[in-house]
Symmetry: C2
Subunit: 310 residues, 2 copies
């Protein structure tokens, strides 16, 4: 039987990895030959979650291949964030919670996008709709995704549905929401062994805004000052990324997970658009403090897109 | 309170009109200030359904305007099939059953696309999920949409879900599925008062295939030969449409609703792609018989897109 491949976005985060794993499991229960995959390295936060609940990371692939009948995208839909050869395959489903753009199919599909904080919250609903019980392991993985995307339920992207799902799943998984969540986030915020290259690429997403190509990297930290001790090296990596990928703008968003603010580093030819978007002036270090900004999707992409398109 | 405007595609068909009406009603029951609208004339088939179940056509608009907070698209998502100034408004929801293309939002939304034969089938599910009872009038409108899109449940796009919904809704509406459906389709297939311009535009949709601009009109008839008695006049209108809209290809699909075949007329510079797509040779009249072809979405758009992109 040809299989269905399920994967999330490049530079995978906890929601992308856990949603691929759990949805592949649900599909298998429903009789579909489904296999989870990932398009990049597992980050430390996600590894903590996988280890905690005894799960294996999905197989890493560079592109879709093998005996694949169709693909299911979780946690993304924009083609530049997906497998490079996506257009050669039939997309049968999308389960996502982002804006929709740069996405096209030849045929009708099952596409479920909801304005919630996390793909895992949608998957939790799908278990109920299908009448399938979530195992403690899968509940733990879904909970991890929600705590990650919602920064401990404190991000403005977090909805009542995410909050309810988190407490419900924590009950099944047998962990305390706050304690587990903070431990997981701290594991991810341990940046001691990260190179400047790692920091700028480990959670980076590319966007088309108007005619501009924009890349936005985000790093969670307990102390953002520590990150910027290597600012010179980080800037060098970003300059290279701008050159290699023909970017107009690169935002490096260092987010303080305890204070819930961000310190952003902005490089490229279109830095004025970032200043306009956030109503700030960059300091001599090309940086600005963004009070209360923790969500790339809601507090960075939206105002920046507006600055590029209005 | 600023309102939510709900509408389907240009050149509205029965699913587009009825889904806009019924979903606006459901939204109102759920406490949303929703108003249905339409982007074109009501066709005879749809008018029959509206009259039969005592419904008024939604207000016709040329573009989105007035005190609108956001819009909901039903039965379409491709921007060229939607309101011309769509990009100026926030799209909060899409309920659809077509392929996804040329669609983009700035923000996350509720997007529900399912590979079923009709938007109305999805709406019938949504009533259940929300715990709202469908009134006999709304059930009749939803049934009409299903019978129209599925050509009396015989189109290859028709799924088991559409069939079940049709029988369930017919029970609520108090009509016989087959008798009512055939009467409605025959009312729509009465082309006696249609000009060549009407025939080529009343159910026409535009598609981007590769780099090509393609328009596909479909007309249901009890006797397709009767339509082609005015072929010269139809070709003249199509030539004008090709010129005015910069089209590479125009397909005029005349579908026999009793025999479930189509007789297609093909004009433009890319007619070879149509021959390739359907594995036919056009006759001296620029026409070809397409055995068993009744679904534009599944049996015309898909092979034609492949011919343009491979």
């Amino acid at each position: 039987m040809r299989k269905t491949l399920i994967f999330g976005h490049k530079s995978p985060d906890t929601d992308t990895i856990c949603s691929a794993l759990v949805y592949a499991d649900l599909k298998s229960v429903l009789g579909v030959e489904a296999q989870p995959a990932r398009l990049g390295d597992v980050n430390q936060e996600t590894q903590y979650a996988l280890d905690y609940f005894g799960a294996e990371a999905p197989e890493r692939i560079e592109e879709v291949g093998g005996d694949v009948s169709d693909v299911i995208l979780v946690d993304h839909n924009e083609s530049q964030q997906s497998a490079d050869n996506l257009q050669d395959f039939r997309i049968s489903e999308v389960i996502d919670h982002h804006r929709v753009a740069n996405f096209e199919t030849k045929e009708p599909l099952y596409m479920r996008v909801e304005p919630v904080g996390c793909t895992a919250t949608i998957l939790n609903d799908m278990y109920k709709e299908k009448g399938v019980v979530v195992s403690p392991k899968n509940a733990g993985l879904l909970l991890s995704a929600i705590m990650s995307d919602s920064l401990l339920l404190k991000s403005p992207t977090c909805t009542e549905a995410d909050r309810e799902a988190a407490y419900e799943l924590a009950g099944i998984a047998g962990v305390d929401v706050e304690t587990y969540g903070l431990d997981m986030l701290k594991a991810g915020a341990d940046l001691s062994d990260k190179s400047a290259y790692d920091l700028t690429t480990m959670d980076a997403k590319e966007f088309t805004m108007g005619d501009a190509k924009v890349q936005i990297a985000q790093v969670n930290a307990v102390d953002t000052n520590q990150i910027y001790e290597s600012q010179a090296a980080i800037e060098k990596e970003i300059d290279q990324l701008i050159k290699d990928n023909g970017l107009d703008l690169f935002l490096f968003v260092a987010t303080d997970i305890l204070e819930n603010d961000s310190d952003v580093l902005v490089l490229g030819t279109a830095t004025d658009r970032a200043e306009q978007a956030f109503d700030v002036s960059l300091d001599d270090n090309n940086r600005a403090f963004l009070k209360g900004v923790v969500s790339r999707k809601k507090q960075v992409v939206i105002p920046l897109t507006e600055a590029f398109t209005k």
